[in-house]
């Protein structure tokens, strides 16, 4: 039963990931922590391995739809190792609770900005298209 729920959450995580441009860790981590009894750190680490093929397939599909600025994406990815290293070291050293609450506050702030932006009426009443 736990395996079935883990697989279902995996599929749902991939769907959310493909839809919103995230890896799917939002659902992979709880699936692994709750249904596979992994610790939060193990679940986060294992989730990262699942994210690699998900991101590759989603990027390939989005490239086909014409939605990938490949150079920009690869630049962001290529320049991330310093951040990754810092994050992993901090994750193993700092109180998990402090990390969780800090990220929660940041996520809520960004959500508010995105909502305001999406609901803001545009001059002609049409959904606004950002400048490119």
């Amino acid at each position: 039963m736990n395996e079935v729920l883990t697989v279902l959450l995996g599929f749902a995580g991939g769907t959310v990931g493909g839809l919103l441009g995230v890896g799917g860790g939002i659902l992979f981590v709880p699936a692994l922590a709750i249904f596979q009894d992994q610790s939060q750190v193990q679940a986060a680490a294992t989730s990262l391995l699942a994210i690699v093929p998900v991101a590759a397939v989603a990027a390939w599909r989005q490239h086909g739809y014409g939605n990938v600025r490949l150079r920009d994406g690869l630049l962001i990815g290529a320049l991330s190792p310093l951040g990754v290293a810092a994050g992993v070291v901090v994750a193993n050293a700092v109180s998990q609770r402090v990390l969780e609450l800090s990220f929660a506050a940041l996520a809520l702030a960004i959500a508010a900005r995105l909502t305001v932006r999406a609901l803001r009426p545009s001059p002609d009443g049409q959904p606004q298209t950002p400048p490119s």
């Binding site: 279902l8 599929f11 995580g13 769907t15 990931g17 493909g18 839809l19 919103l20 441009g21 995230v22 890896g23 799917g24 860790g25 939002i26 992979f28 699936a31 992994q38 750190v41 193990q42 680490a45 294992t46 989730s47 990262l48 391995l49 699942a50 994210i51 093929p53 991101a55 590759a56 397939v57 989603a58 990027a59 599909r61 989005q62 490239h63 739809y65 600025r69 490949l70 920009d72 994406g73 962001i76 990815g77 991330s80 951040g83 994050g87 992993v88 994750a91 609770r97 990390l99 990220f103 996520a107 809520l108 959500a111 909502t115 932006r117 999406a118 959904p127 298209t129 950002p130 400048p131």
Partner: protein
């Protein structure tokens, strides 16, 4: 040059959050591309995915050195998730960009609630 520095800053921030929370960094990359570099939502999410391949790959190698990665359990969520990724990207093409923004905001609220509940 300024743009390259912005992309570098986005990469560093996304990498840090990836290492901290086990997410690929997309929750940071997508809003930063939208608000900072004026990407459309579809472009931001697609470009984020390309970045996440590399970010998640780096992070998983580092986490593996701590002995935290379980490949069998990664496959248990990752294999069905590949099908989900194909479905999710196809679904996204049928949605207006405002809807993607709102769904992204919902995702962030869910993440926040999940983090706040101990």
């Amino acid at each position: 040059m300024r743009r390259t520095l912005q992309l570098a800053a986005i990469g560093t921030a996304a990498g840090a959050f990836s290492g901290l929370f086990g997410v690929g960094g997309g929750t940071i990359i997508v809003p930063l591309l939208v608000f900072w570099l004026a990407f459309g939502e579809r472009e931001a999410t697609g470009t984020s995915m390309a970045a996440i391949i590399l970010i998640a790959a780096y992070a998983v190698i580092l986490q593996a050195t701590y002995g935290n990665v379980d490949p069998a359990e990664a496959a248990l969520v990752g294999v069905p998730a590949i099908g989900g990724a194909v479905a999710g990207t196809a679904l996204q093409q049928r949605l207006p960009e405002r809807a993607i923004s709102l769904l992204f905001a919902v995702l962030l609220v869910v993440i926040a609630v999940e983090l706040i509940i101990p």
